[in-house]
Structure formats: C-alpha cells, structure tokens
C-alpha cells in the first residue's frame, strides 16, 4: 500500500460503562483517543501518550490497563470502565469519597487514573500496607506530589471494603 493513502477505516463496537457504541475509526486510534475525542468521555486523561504516567488508566474486563497503549480496534466487545462509570448518579464510589476526604489531589489531572488504578489495586488484594500500595501503584505518577494522601485514601477505602478486598 502506498504509504500516504488512507488506510481502511475499521468498525469497532466499544462497550463503555455499560453502553455500547458503534464507531468507525482510523485504525491508529488509541482507546484513549476513542474515549476522549470520539465519545467525549474526557475524564480519562492524556498525560504522556506513551504509557509512562498512568493518567489514562481504565478498567478492561475489570483489570487496569493503560488506554494510551491500546488500539481501539483491538478492544472490540470488551467491557471498559472509565472514571465516568465509577459513580452511580450522585453517589460517589467509596474511593472517590476517600480521595476527597483525604485531599488526595491538587491539580486533579492524574486523579481519574489514580482512582481507576486504586480501585483495581484494592480488588487485586494489593492494598495491605502503605508499602504494598506504593509498589502496586507505581504505574501512576503525580507531579503535584499528593502521594501520601493517595496512599491514605486507598488505605481508607481498602479498609472499608474489608479483608476480602472487595471495593
């Protein structure tokens, strides 16, 4: 194929926060850009576009992944949960509440990614101690330096979720 011609678009069925969307996309579209530019779900953030900062973290079939490193065309028919899907109406998820109560953010740009990663960290059973949380949250960085409060918020929510780690 001559390099400068348009590649064939692809049809993708993205299931996001329980709703299915049919999109016709450039194959180069990352999941992150599909969410932000095509579905106007801008809660998931672009901090580096290279998988190094974690601001783009979403849940894929319940597991945390970096949406900037996923091609949307390869996420057909899988369940995606973004920050917008975490709360139910006015009711915040316990980890969101914990972030507010522990002031676990300043500028807020890393926050959705931290929360999505934190939800998964708790569900995986990796929130047993501050040290364990720091290691298992190493995929998310915070330039404002809210790490201590982020760890505290995750501990709060993990404790409330109980020893089984459900949260």
């Amino acid at each position: 194929m001559p390099p400068d011609l348009s590649p064939p678009s692809i049809t993708v069925a993205l299931r996001v926060n329980g709703s299915e969307h049919q999109l016709v996309l450039d194959p180069r579209t990352t999941l992150l850009d599909a969410l932000r530019e095509h579905l106007q779900l801008t809660g998931t953030k672009k901090g580096c576009a290279l998988g190094q900062c974690g601001a783009c973290t979403v849940l894929l079939d319940g597991k945390r992944v970096k949406s900037c490193l996923s091609l949307a065309g390869l996420i057909d028919k899988r369940d995606i949960t973004t920050i917008e899907g975490l709360s139910s109406g006015e009711q915040l998820h316990p980890l969101q509440t914990a972030f507010v109560e522990r002031d676990a953010f300043q500028c807020g740009y890393c926050t959705p990614g931290q929360i999505m990663a934190g939800v998964a960290c708790i569900a995986e059973g990796h929130a047993g101690s501050a040290e364990e949380i720091r290691e298992w949250m190493s995929g998310n960085i915070c330039r404002c330096g809210a790490y201590d409060n982020i760890v505290a918020a995750i501990q709060d929510a993990a404790g409330a979720a109980g020893a089984t780690g459900r949260g």
Binding site: P7, P27, R28, L50, G51, V65
Partner: protein, 332 residues
C-alpha cells in the same frame, strides 16, 4: 503514527497467512498482541509497518505446570503468569522477574511473546530525530558509540550497535533453559530461547531468529531442583517501573552447603540475555557467600567492553552476581 491496515484475524491460520515477521525493524507487516511496546513504537514512528496483524484471541494463553515442567501460551499476560500459584511455587524466578518489570497496568496487557520480542530502550533508537541508528536505518551509524551510553551494553556488542535487550523475563527464562514453540502455517519447531535473540554484528536491524509467517506460540521450561532455589536481582536507579542497569537471574542446585549446579544469566549488560557458562562452571563446589564466588563472578567480565559511560557496569555486574548467589543460596 504512519497509516497501517489493521488485520483482526479470527484464528491462527488466518493470522499466519499475512506472513508478518517479528524481530526485524524493516518488516512491512508486524504482529501486535498486548501492544504495550508496539503502540509506543508506532506513536514515535520508530516502526512504520503498513500492516499490523493482531494476535488477540488467536494464540494460546493457558499456563500449565506439572512434574515435567512448565508450558505457557505466548498470549498469557505478564500479570497472570506472575500470579499463577504453580509458577510462584515451582518457578519463583519467573514470577520475581515479572513483578520487577513494568507497572501493574502494563503487566495486565502485555503478553509473554510480546515481552520476549520487545525492542531496546536505547534513546537513539527510540527517537527518530537521531539519524544515526543502524538498527532503525541500516548503515546510518550508531549515535550511542560516541553519545550518552550509560544504559548500553558491555557484552555482545559490535561497532554497529551497543543496545541492551530490555526484557527481565527473557533473562530469567534463559537461566532456566527455556525453549520456544514456534509455529508457522506449515510447521511447528522448537527453538531454544537463548537462540532467539541475535547479536547485532553487522545486522542490528535483524533481532530475532524468526522467519516471515512464524510466531512464538508457547514457552516451555523444564522442571528441576534449581528452578526453586532462585533469585532475580535487579539494579536500577528507581525503586519501581524502570528498566535494569544490571540484573542477574540465579538458579542453584545445591549439594549441602555447596553449589552442585548453577544457572546464571545477566540482563542490562548484553545485547541479548546473557548466559554465563564460565561463571557457572567456576561455581561448582563453591559455598555461596564465600570469597570464591567473587572469583567466579569475575569471569563474566571476560570480553566485556565499556563504551565510556557504562564502564561501571563491568564491576557492578560482578558484584550483582555475588549478591544474587548469596540470596539464592540462603533460600530453602
């Protein structure tokens, strides 16, 4: 990213029919599995395949552990393998190496096969603004030779390329004598993992011993007493989520307090995962923690060549071997 056609085949036969080739930086058709390295390479325009063949759903992802050993489907994720109870108990070296790699999110997406075939982190390779990179553009030179080369290799280099292979998993598997099941449309062959990655020599753009239309289907590791008494030591400048300056995979089969058989492989220092048969031979009969270990470790430096900013690795890797042997030896 440069435009590409994204193929989403329904089964392995259909995927192989595209004749994609892994391990060549000039391939027109490449595979994509988890995508955690490939998407970066595409974003930075380091790789510009015209066709991308997805392996999602067409490769085996099962993890099987029994008395003979271990078989891991190439599509198994780093996270699933690291957490598998059979691997944690019988092949802890593999789990350790994986948990020392990347971040939790990346480990959920990245696959075994993709990890073994990931490209070097050399900044001159990864940034197309640098015109001299023989791996990216054959014949253009190597900027790292006279540039900032503290991350680069001291073993297995040539004057055409000194880039380090970045995979921790590969180092652990090489120490454990892993073999690969390689499949093509017409054939199935076994390839020792140590023979997968090629030295740069005169052709740094050819990285793996895979033909067009071949794919890594599974990884096999034989069982043995050494597999259990092991340690993966990773020396790096950050506590987490960073590649190795130097790493050591050690697996020991002990005879009382002394080493009967040692398996040692190095990461961060070689253009491919570096097995050290001379060190292993010299460790026979040696007690971990004794001064003889350092004499044995010194043999790893034979043929090592510093390039100015990475000379420290030659001393560091010897010390890392000593430390790793001591830790592995102390394990029950």
């Amino acid at each position: 990213m440069h435009p590409f056609t994204l193929e989403r085949p329904r089964d392995l036969a259909a995927a192989l029919a595209f004749q994609a080739q892994a391990g060549r930086t000039d391939a027109a058709a490449e595979y994509i599995a988890g995508g955690t390295d490939m998407v970066q390479l595409l974003q930075e325009e380091v790789r510009q395949p015209t066709r991308l063949v997805s392996l999602a759903g067409v490769l085996d992802h099962r993890i099987e552990v029994n008395d003979q050993g271990l078989r891991i489907g190439a599509a198994a994720t780093m996270a699933d393998v690291a957490a598998h109870s059979g691997i944690v108990q019988q092949f802890p070296l593999i789990s350790e190496a994986l948990l020392n790699s990347a971040s939790p999110q990346v480990r959920n997406q990245a696959t075994m096969g993709g990890n073994l075939l990931q490209r070097t982190r050399c900044p001159y390779f990864r940034d197309v603004g640098y015109t001299a990179c023989n791996k990216r553009v054959p014949g253009s030179g190597c900027a790292a030779l006279t540039g900032d080369n503290q991350w680069h290799a001291v073993l297995g280099t040539s004057d055409n390329c000194i880039a380090v292979h970045p995979s921790d998993l590969a180092v652990a598997l090489v120490a454990l004598d892993a073999e690969l099941e390689v499949r093509s449309a017409s054939d199935r062959r076994t390839l020792r993992l140590i023979d997968l990655h090629r030295l740069p020599g005169d052709t740094p753009h050819i990285e793996a011993a895979l033909e067009p239309g071949e794919v890594i289907a599974a990884i096999q590791v034989p069982s043995g007493p050494a597999a259990r008494r092991s340690h993966y030591l990773k020396v790096r400048t950050r506590a987490s989520f960073e590649f190795a300056l130097v790493s050591v995979a050690v697996a020991l089969d002990m005879d009382g307090p002394r080493v009967a058989t040692a398996r040692i492989a190095l990461g961060g220092v070689g253009t491919k995962p570096w097995r050290t048969p001379e060190v292993e031979a010299a460790l026979k009969g040696v007690t971990p923690g004794s001064p003889e270990v350092r004499n044995a470790a010194a043999l790893a430096a034979q043929g090592a060549q510093g390039r100015g900013h990475n000379d420290f690795k030659i001393e560091l890797m010897q010390r890392a071997i000593v430390r790793a042997v001591e830790i592995a030896g102390a394990r029950a």
